[in-house]
C-alpha cells in the first residue's frame, strides 16, 4: 500500500480496516543470492538499495532479535556531515543528501527534521580549528557557517556564556544537520526492501558459517536452519568481532559501550543539536520534548550493553558546565549501546577478507547518521564487487598500508576516540 493523504483520510473514516503489516515477517528460504546478517538500519538500507539500485532482489536480511533492536534503537538520532578529512566528508555529505530525500524515497515518515547542529567554541585555538573544519566541509559541498557569540546567544540564550573556565566564544553551525526518528528509519527501509521482494527474517541468530574447501563463505547456519547464499554480507556493528571469530578472523576492532540519556519532557528549548567543545557533551530535544544527550564512551572494553556510574557523572558534569538549567530537570532514562571501535575511529566497508564475504563494520559511536550512505555504498560493493568511490577510503587494508582516517588523531587506542 502506498501511503498518502487520501489513504489516511479513507482509513480514518473506515476504522483503519485496510491497513496491513508494513512488511512480511518472512521465514527463511534454503537459498538466496545475498544474505545480509544484521537487521539494523545499515543492513536494511543495504537490502533496500541492493533491490532498488542494483536489481538484486533474492535477498534475505537475518536478524538475531527483532529488526532495529540493536544500535538502531540505542542512538541519539542525530545526522550531520561536519567532518574534516577527505576520506570521510564526501561520504557523510552523500548520507546527508540521502536523508534529505529519504521520506519521499521510502514513502514513509521518518521524521527528518533539519534543525541544525552548533559545535560551541570556547577558545581562539578552537575557533581556528572550526574555521578549518568549516572550510573543509564547504570544499566537499556541505554547508557550514561560523557564528559569533551574539549569534549563538540568539539561538540558545540559556547557555553559560561567561563560564570562568570555558566561556562560549561562538560556534560552527551546520544548518542542514538534524534528527530523525530512529525506529521509523528501520521500519521505512524494511518496508521498502520488503516491497521489492527482500525477505526479512527475525529471531534468526547466525550461529556459524558454511565454508567450502577453498575457504569461501557459502552460507550461514542460523537458529532457523541452514541458509545457503552466493554472497554473505555482515552488517552487525557492535558485534562484528563475535561473528568474525566464527570465521577465524581477527578485526581491527574493540567493543566499548556508549551511554545515552533522556530527561523528562519539557516545552521546546533546544533549537537543534548543541555540542560542548571543552568536554564531551552533546544535546538535542526529541519531538516528545525530552532532552536527549550523551558524552564519552565507558573507557574499557565491554559487551555489557549497560553503562557504569562514573561516566554518567562525567556526562552530567559536562552538561551542567555548558547548560546549568539541566540541573532542574529529572533524568528519565539511561541506556547503553555496543560500539565497534576501530583502531583509527573510522568505519570499514569492504569486500572480504574471505571469498564471498562482505564486511560493513566499525561504525564507532557514529553509525546512525551514516545509515543511508552506508547502505548505498555497501550495496554497490556487494553488487559490483568493487568499492564505491565514496567509501573507497574505508577499506580494511588501510591499517596495513598506513592510509588511516584518524579524524581525532589519537592512534590505535580505541577507548580514546
Amino acid at each position: 500500500m502506498r501511503y498518502s493523504l487520501l489513504n489516511v483520510i479513507v482509513n480514518g473514516l473506515t476504522g483503519n480496516r485496510y491497513t496491513g503489516p508494513a512488511w512480511r515477517d518472512a521465514s527463511p528460504k534454503p537459498q538466496y543470492d545475498v544474505v545480509i546478517v544484521g537487521g539494523g538500519g545499515h543492513g536494511l538500507a543495504t537490502a533496500y538499495y541492493l533491490a532498488k539500485e542494483h536489481g538484486i532482489r533474492n535477498v534475505a536480511v537475518v536478524e538475531k532479535g527483532w529488526i532495529g533492536s540493536g544500535n538502531a534503537g540505542r542512538n541519539t538520532t542525530i545526522f550531520r556531515s561536519n567532518y574534516l578529512l577527505p576520506g570521510n566528508e564526501p561520504f557523510y555529505e552523500w548520507s546527508m543528501k540521502l536523508w534529505e530525500g529519504l521520506e519521499q524515497e521510502l514513502n514513509y515518515n521518518v521524521m527528518v527534521s533539519q534543525r541544525g547542529i552548533v559545535n560551541l567554541i570556547h577558545s581562539d585555538a578552537q575557533r581556528d580549528a572550526y574555521v578549518r573544519r568549516g572550510n573543509a566541509m564547504r570544499l566537499a559541498g556541505a554547508d557550514s557557517e561560523l557564528l559569533d557569540r551574539a549569534q549563538v546567544r540568539a539561538l540558545a540564550p540559556y547557555l553559560d556564556f561567561d563560564n570562568a573556565r570555558f566561556p562560549i566564544k561562538g560556534g560552527l553551525l551546520q544548518a542542514r544537520a538534524g534528527t530523525a526518528r530512529h525506529d521509523a528509519v528501520v521500519w521505512g527501509y524494511a518496508r521498502g526492501a520488503d516491497q521489492l521482494g527482500v525477505d526479512i527474517v527475525q529471531n534468526c541468530e547466525v550461529t556459524g558459517f558454511l565454508r567450502d574447501a577453498s575457504g569461501a563463505v557459502t552460507g550461514v547456519e542460523t537458529a532457523r536452519g541452514t541458509i545457503r547464499a552466493k554472497k554473505v554480507a555482515l552488517a552487525v556493528a557492535g558485534s562484528s568481532s563475535r561473528l568474525a571469530e566464527k570465521l577465524d578472523l581477527r578485526l581491527p576492532i574493540e567493543s566499548f559501550v556508549m551511554q545515552a540519556f533522556v530527561s523528562e519532557a519539557i516545552k521546546p528549548l533546544a533549537p537543534g543539536v548543541l555540542t560542548f567543545g571543552a568536554g564531551h557533551f552533546y544535546i538535542s530535544q526529541s519531538d516528545k520534548g525530552g532532552l536527549v544527550f550523551g558524552g564519552d564512551l565507558d573507557g574499557y572494553n565491554s559487551y555489557a550493553q549497560r553503562g557504569n556510574l562514573p561516566v554518567i557523572e562525567d556526562v552530567m558534569e559536562g552538561g551542567m558546565a555548558v547548560m546549568p538549567l539541566l540541573g532542574r530537570l529529572r533524568l528519565l532514562r539511561q541506556w547503553a549501546g555496543l560500539c565497534d571501535m576501530s583502531m583509527d575511529g573510522s568505519p570499514i566497508i569492504d569486500i572480504g577478507p574471505l571469498p564471498n564475504l562482505y564486511l560493513n563494520a566499525a561504525w564507532n559511536y557514529g553509525g546512525f547518521k551514516a545509515t543511508p550512505a552506508s547502505g548505498w555504498c555497501f550495496a554497490h560493493t556487494i553488487a559490483r564487487d568493487e568499492a564505491h568511490p565514496l567509501s573507497a577510503a574505508y577499506r580494511i587494508d588501510r591499517f596495513r598500508t598506513g592510509h588511516l582516517i584518524d579524524e581525532k588523531g589519537v592512534g590505535a587506542q580505541p577507548n580514546l576516540h
Binding site: 568481532s241 576492532i253 572494553n301 565491554s302 559487551y303
Partner: protein, 90 residues
C-alpha cells in the same frame, strides 16, 4: 566497578587508567615478517565477548601496572596481579 589492587586493596575503577589487551606480544623487529607481525600486533584484536586479559594502571594510587582478568559481558573480575609478577609466572 572495583578493582582489587594487590597493594592498595579494592578501589573504585575510577582510580585506574585503562590500556587494553594484555595478551599481545611485541614482535621481533628484526624478523623477516616484522611488518606483518607489527600490523597484527598494533591493530588486530581478539575482542572476545568472554574472559579478557587487560592492563590497568593504578594511576591515582600506587601507580603500578596491573594485569586484570575481567569478563566482557558481566564485568566480573576473576584475577588481579602486578604485571611484573604475571610475567615471572609465565
Amino acid at each position: 566497578m572495583q578493582i582489587a589492587c594487590p597493594y592498595c586493596g579494592a578501589r573504585d575503577a575510577q582510580e585506574f587508567a585503562y590500556l587494553g589487551d594484555a595478551t599481545l606480544q611485541r614482535p621481533d623487529t628484526s624478523a623477516a615478517d616484522a611488518q606483518n607481525a607489527f600490523h597484527d600486533y598494533v591493530y588486530l584484536r581478539d575482542n572476545p565477548a568472554g574472559a579478557h586479559q587487560e592492563f590497568w594502571i593504578h594511576s591515582a594510587g600506587c601507580r603500578r601496572w596491573l594485569r586484570v582478568s575481567r569478563h566482557m559481558t558481566t564485568h566480573k573480575i576473576t584475577a588481579t596481579q602486578f604485571v611484573c609478577d604475571a610475567e615471572v609466572a609465565s
